[in-house]
Amino acid sequence: MLNNETLLTQLEALFPSDLSNADFSFDLLTVEVESSKLRTLIATLQKDDSLGFAFLTLIGGVHYPEDVDREFAVVYHIHSWKHKIRLRLKAFLPLSNPSIDSICDIYPSANWMERETYDFYGIIFTNHPDLRRILNEDSMDYFPLRKEYTLEDGTREDKDDRFFGRF
């Protein structure tokens, strides 16, 4: 049985130069992957029977507007039932070119999750078979989960953070 430490060792052996910022908090191994290598890494993990990452749990985006050239993160959760272990992979993308290879052909379930991430964040999944909006209207011309779109009117004063002891 793998645990988080041995899994990280194995990953580092497979991809020595593309991993960074490994993190073990809350009992889940998080590894940052070079965005150009992510597809290869996931394909390797999926094919490797001794690791057994046969199940893709979740793909989602995150927007960090303040991190220059690392504005978007695409977060992949994959799950090895064989070892009862989850792995979180993150790839950071710049706002100027938010694109990453699609993993639809590795995990067919990624299809809609990638479409959803595109719909909400405008992240382009190259080689995706059908990359268009899924939950929002096709005619929409912005990506609503980006942080520049606040949910409430920014001019409202009654919900100013200063009135709640936050500065």
Binding site: A54, G60, F120, D130, D138, Y149, L151, G165
Partner: protein
């Protein structure tokens, strides 16, 4: 919209796809969005050759309510009502799953009694969820009676929710850290009555369908999926287990003391509508077993954890005591110190792995909250499952997959 792009379909479609070029006698029909047989708002554009489905294309998002965006503006306590509206057939599981996610972030120690109470409620919710799904499969195969009897029992489960939290459908049950109050004497009476009467009614209803010749002929071989494809499409829950894969979050990553209970994960063989129905029926029996074990061994103790910074104070105190009022206000407005971190927590919902991916930056609201909605992920497999089947098969396949529009569209 790119009509050229065919969905990823393997074997069954090839025969019918090749016919499209031969005789061109193809009709396009809309199944949904407001078709009585879809039991929810989703559209399928079917291409049919006579009665046979050649291909289908889904449109989802008709009731998209931007939950993930909303959650970024809401303090943690105020997100619970959002989770109600995901899979509204089993809202308590969604609520309690969210509470457990936050408790994991604040590293609260949850008393054993709370965990057992949660198990009882979550299993009741699972029974209610499966009852709806299976009775609807009955309706779609032409047995309307099978709808009424289980609904009477579901009503009793809703009365139990009402006894705990006052609500029935969108329950907003429990609190971060435990429950608002302990089980009331009325709850105990009603639960005991339910545990006594339900198995008899359930078995009677089950015998009406599960070995019924017409029902079996109608559902066996309808909408099948192989275990490999089920895995590839990310199916979870009863739908995956019907295909023969025994993945259950309750067993693989036990939460809320599920490791204390003895139960079986039923699996099917063919992954067809009949197997999905039978897996759900068996899960109802197993849920009853879990409830009996949890209720029989309900530990003494507190019904809440010791997390005064997050657990809402007693309502009576809020109205009569200034300190409690201040705390109530601060908690509801999210003015408590919350650690930053990233959490993925999942529970076994009515439809499978219901996950919460939470990123907290220490602010009053989550920085990002993503729901892993099992319906949304496994509904992708639907075109492949109905290709080569008839339109009426598509109807019962859809209802046996238990696609819930609220969960699908977030």
């Amino acid at each position: 919209m790119n009509k050229e792009t065919a969905p990823i379909i393997e074997s069954p479609s090839e025969f019918y796809n090749s016919r499209e070029t031969i005789d061109g006698d193809i009709a396009t029909i809309n199944f949904g969005p407001t078709h009585p047989a879809t039991h929810g708002i989703f559209q399928n554009i079917l291409k049919v050759d006579g009665e046979k489905i050649i291909s289908s294309e889904q449109t989802v998002g008709y009731i998209h309510r931007a939950f993930e965006k909303l959650a970024e503006r809401r303090p943690y306590n105020q997100i619970t009502p959002i989770t109600d509206r995901l899979n509204y057939c089993s809202s308590p599981i969604n609520n309690l799953g969210w509470h457990m996610t936050v408790e994991k972030l604040i590293q609260a120690e949850i008393p054993k009694r709370v965990q057992y109470m949660r198990v009882i409620i979550m299993e009741l919710a699972r029974i209610a969820d499966h009852l709806i799904c299976d009775s609807v499969v009955g309706v779609d195969t032409g047995a309307l009676t099978s709808f009424f009897y289980p609904f009477q029992e579901r009503e009793k489960i809703y009365e139990l929710y009402e006894e705990i939290c006052g609500a029935r459908l969108t329950t907003n049950i429990g609190r971060i850290g435990g429950f608002e109050r302990d089980f009331t004497p009325v709850f105990h009476t009603k639960l005991k009555a339910f545990l006594k009467s339900f198995p008899k009614v359930f078995n009677e209803w089950d015998s009406m369908l599960s070995r019924n010749r017409i029902f079996m002929d109608r559902t066996r071989g309808t909408g099948p999926i192989s275990p490999e494809r089920a895995l590839a499409y990310g199916l979870t829950g009863p739908n995956l287990r019907a295909a023969g894969v025994d993945y259950d979050v309750r067993v693989m990553h036990p939460y809320s003391s599920y490791e204390d209970f003895d139960f079986i994960i039923p699996v099917g063989v063919n992954g067809d509508t009949y197997d999905r129905f039978m897996v759900r029926q068996e899960e109802i029996r197993q849920s009853l077993r879990i409830i009996e074990q949890a209720y029989g061994n309900l530990p003494e103790g507190e019904f809440k954890a010791d997390v005064p910074d997050f657990y809402l104070p007693d309502k009576a105190a809020v109205y009569n005591n200034m300190e409690a009022l201040i705390y109530h206000f601060k908690i509801v407005m999210g003015e408590m110190e919350i650690p930053s971190g990233e959490i993925y927590h999942s529970v076994e919902g009515g439809n499978g792995e219901l996950g919460y991916y939470l990123i907290s930056d220490g602010g009053r609201t989550p920085y990002r909250l993503q729901f892993r909605r099992p319906c949304f992920i496994y509904y992708q497999a639907y075109p492949e499952m109905i290709t080569g089947q008839t339109i009426s098969d598509a109807v019962i396949t859809l209802s046996s997959m238990n696609v819930i529009a609220g969960e699908l569209d977030a």
